[in-house]
Symmetry: D2
Subunit: 337 residues, 4 copies
């Protein structure tokens, strides 16, 4: 932590500041300049609230030097984490594809779509069984029945499964059916849930909260990592801004930023980011070109009758055509898909 | 719902659109203008996803006519809801004051501060026993022991208690000690928790999510109301914007907007909105002047040693002085405090 | 400037960083800690682009210590600036009121409204003669004719005049009719215009850009001050956020923040901030309670036929009633109005 | 325009609303439903302020049906505009590259860099001669001398020139040296300047304001088009959001959105969008993959000594390598570069 003192800080104030810092356990380095004094406070307190110092008399500004996360950072682990999920590797050279409907709606629907997903060369089937909905009057998902159907459809097509867990007491149930726990954007700071997921031994996909800074996102991963679960990856799905032509603003810069600050993989979800079908292909291409380690895409073969988010689902044909383009872009940047 | 057709929509497209609307159960009113046709689709489907229509060929724009919330709206109940909590009325002419520390830290601390709160004329004691923290390494609250201490301190000073519930399985425990459940900003869209709170019979204070629109906030209240619990009120505590000199941007306009759209009371929390002690008094005054039905303010008599959010806590003296100013402002706008 | 070095920075990298800093003219203070080294770079370079250092190998983070503005800051002048405009003082204990129509529309209109303004006890008449409009097809103002009418209406009622200057070549013309130049939100970073206004000897009201940080706002004032014009004040008029129920989000926290960081006065414009008539009175009250040195309010006696922004104009009766409330709130916080 | 009436609107209110609409020149279509009445108001008033109706008693909501822009919209011209600038075509299948330094700094510098630009296969040289700077104390550009040098350097390398015009009285001067006028982000709503550019006969590149919605951006183009200049194209360069790890948030979704709503070309500027050199290559690749008609990239061969924005400039080698990747991505999506 670096403390910039006011030009007019008195000696008594400086002493008081130093006393406080020492009381918090910091080592002090004082630099007396011509115009003002700077104090460097060294110590391993990743979660220290710097406002404790900034309110003291004589202090002008306080800067935190260390990042508040440790395990998620590049300085903790220099090489990229590659997550192995059965025979799929996420975070390596090969870009991983996740596809499927927003919600599992029926046996017929999920089996039909799982076939499309497998045929396209994707590795993981997505689908919601418990749906977080802004309205209490909307379809809330098929529950356990949906989980069973999705597992069976995935197994028949040699796919893995990812599905969302919305609350702590669903973990045990969902664990029986899924290969990856999805932590939804609205739960990114549900700290109770984060702690419980840290105790599981399955990979967790952390979707970015719509107003989450990259640092907060890394802290959510830190919660899971600090519980002992090392298999965490991120999913960028758009942030809320003043622009509302698209449902969210897809922050693709987050991909190289996460790759710089963290060793954990990051994928992107252009379906939720844009909310509109015709925006999905260009944004999927852009995400791969920006360096995403994977994509998650919603598809549906009857979107007009989908029970949730039909308007953002790609039709199987558009999806297959997109996959061809993505393969070429992957090659252009030295990866495979 | 109003559907604006494309200037070049063909008859076949119009027929297809009408067929879909009827399939969804809407009644149709068609207005054929010189330049384009407008379709009015009448029906009570508050949570209909309008994108289901906007993706059809021949459609230019779709507007939802009804609000997605019902029970929370002014058109459902014209008069203001006044929530009675023992002998305190929230939402009437008298402005209700909630004060206390961010976290319960010790028996001594909470009893000392409860005395300050009662003496100032406030009615409700606040304090966290389970703390949502962005870092897994931060103080996480005293748990049940904190609840017991806060209840005892409140009882001794004839105060009510409000405290945060972070997860479903805490409801039963917290219910034994609190008079009001606080739903934190990060849980505003934790729909599982909202549903459970709808089954309780204690008032719920819904803090606004940092990126929540006013409509989404109303929908969170709708979840609780639709579960049968009629005693819901809002707490504005700042939204996230590009300006980061203050911790959040205090959206005081939300106060008259909520009063216009809803019959439920709304209070304001200048401590979390600004995050800095010297910003709290002017923003507390502004909130009362803007029409807030109550305020929640953090106080501490030793903020430098507080275990959480010390920098935003008012000292007892500043708080008492502020209460005097607030009383005069209340009078200026025809209310009491 | 403070430079935090990477844990793994080599000696050669540190030397290179130091060499660069010295090349830029900084004095160096190096603190070698157990885990990492911190360099303090002292020197008066208010506008140094810190990214020049942050891109060097071995650097982890760089923090600017000094503010980029000088003349606008409290450390340059401790006491509040009070601007004298004829017999009106802005920035003192008395809150100054500016009122009038959005645009000057006719002789009759501006004389009628000037009378209302004067009768209410306000000191300054507002009105646009050259209007910045998002659409090229909208009413663009009466031009010089509007200026003449406004000046005459103000003189007859013993009022001062404030009006917007949109481009450099209008300064000379507008200077003949106005007492205060208004710099509009969209021109806050029109640096050519700022420089020219710095050469005038009339007060300049700098409206905040809808996406301007407080620091950028202070820098715009700095442009004018550095040109020699000392009479600058700010006008908060709302910022753009994700919430769009109100036209903008009125950032009232900016009032105490500006008062802390700068010696210049700040007023507030609730009409443009909210864009809706029924939001204006509560937000006007809140601005006074938050410590604004003045208010600017749009009024119209026939808003349905106003040529611009009618929906946000207060009717004369509502305006008069509001003035009464504001007087009481001013007293409550120890000021007059 | 569609007006949704309040459930409880009286007949007198409905009559009054209809009278107002007719007064404004609209044709009326009334749909009386079981629960409420909807009024369709037909008429060509692209810039009508709908708040004029929304404030009338009995009105619940008002929706504008037509877009406020005409000439810039797809419904005005279905086929893509291809802008011919000498022998370069912008908006066709071939992606156009613009590169060069942030500012022209010296004869030597601009000639060296022009050579790099030409060799890489780019068609247009960029460089600022008049620089908009947030600080009055920063380098403000070389002025006309810079223009002359850039023109000469471009001519020697068979390149076109694009440079920024900051104020109306610079148009005539800059017109002598440039092939394209750049309208900077801070001037996107400088309406006086927009009008003057509409009278020129050179292409105008409209950079997006940092807080501009896509609709406002289209309206700025409309100003120029309505003045008679048909050669307008857009440049996405990032918007301001709560995330501040990157300088701005690069809104790549704007590319397909503009292509859908408008016939005008759109390019992207990853250098200003991210502000950091190591973010430029992934974001440049993403912009091409998303469908940009061109890119503008800042390069410098001595960025540590650049007079402005050195930290975001690519080194010539990195830039050449990037061009190779971009060529492959262009092919992957069926275009050339």
């Amino acid at each position: 932590m670096v403390i910039i003192l006011d030009r007019k800080a008195t000696e008594a104030q400086v002493e008081n500041i130093v006393k406080h810092l020492e009381g918090f356990g910091f080592q002090i380095h004082k630099s007396v300049g011509a115009e003002r004094t700077i104090i460097g406070a060294i110590g391993v307190k990743p979660n220290f609230d710097t406002r404790n110092i900034s309110i003291l008399d004589g202090v002008e500004e306080v800067y935190r030097v260390t990042t508040p996360y440790k395990l998620a950072g590049r300085s903790f682990q220099e090489h990229d984490t590659v997550i192995k999920i059965k025979d799929v590797e996420l975070g390596g050279n090969k870009i991983v594809m996740i596809a499927g409907p927003c919600s599992v709606e029926s046996e017929d629907q999920i089996f039909r779509l799982a076939k499309v997903v497998a045929k396209s060369g994707a590795q993981i089937l997505r689908g919601g069984a418990f749906k977080p909905r802004t309205s209490p009057y909307s379809f809330q998902g098929m529950g356990e029945e949906g989980l069973k159907l999705m597992r069976a459809a995935a197994d028949e097509n040699n796919l893995l499964v990812v599905t969302e867990v919305m609350q702590m007491d669903q973990i045990e149930l969902i664990d029986q059916y899924t290969d990856i726990f999805q932590l939804g954007a609205r739960n990114m700071q549900n700290f109770s849930l984060l702690k419980e997921l840290g105790k599981t031994n399955k990979p967790v996909m952390v979707k970015r909260g719509i107003a989450a800074t990259i640092e907060e996102w890394l802290m959510s991963a830190e919660y899971i990592l600090s519980g002992g679960n090392k298999d965490v990856f991120f999913c960028e799905r758009g942030i809320r801004t003043f622009e509302n032509y698209t449902r969210n603003t897809f922050d693709l810069s987050a991909i190289p930023v996460i790759h710089k600050k963290s060793h954990l993989p990051i994928i992107a979800d252009p379906s939720h980011a844009t909310g509109l079908r015709d925006q999905v292909p260009p944004m999927a291409r852009a995400a791969v070109a920006a360096g995403a380690d994977g994509l998650m895409i919603e598809i549906h073969d009857d979107p007009e009758n989908a029970l949730s988010d039909g308007p953002q689902a790609l039709l199987p044909d558009t999806y297959s055509k997109l996959m061809e383009e993505l393969r070429l872009i992957a090659i252009a940047i030295g990866r495979t898909l």
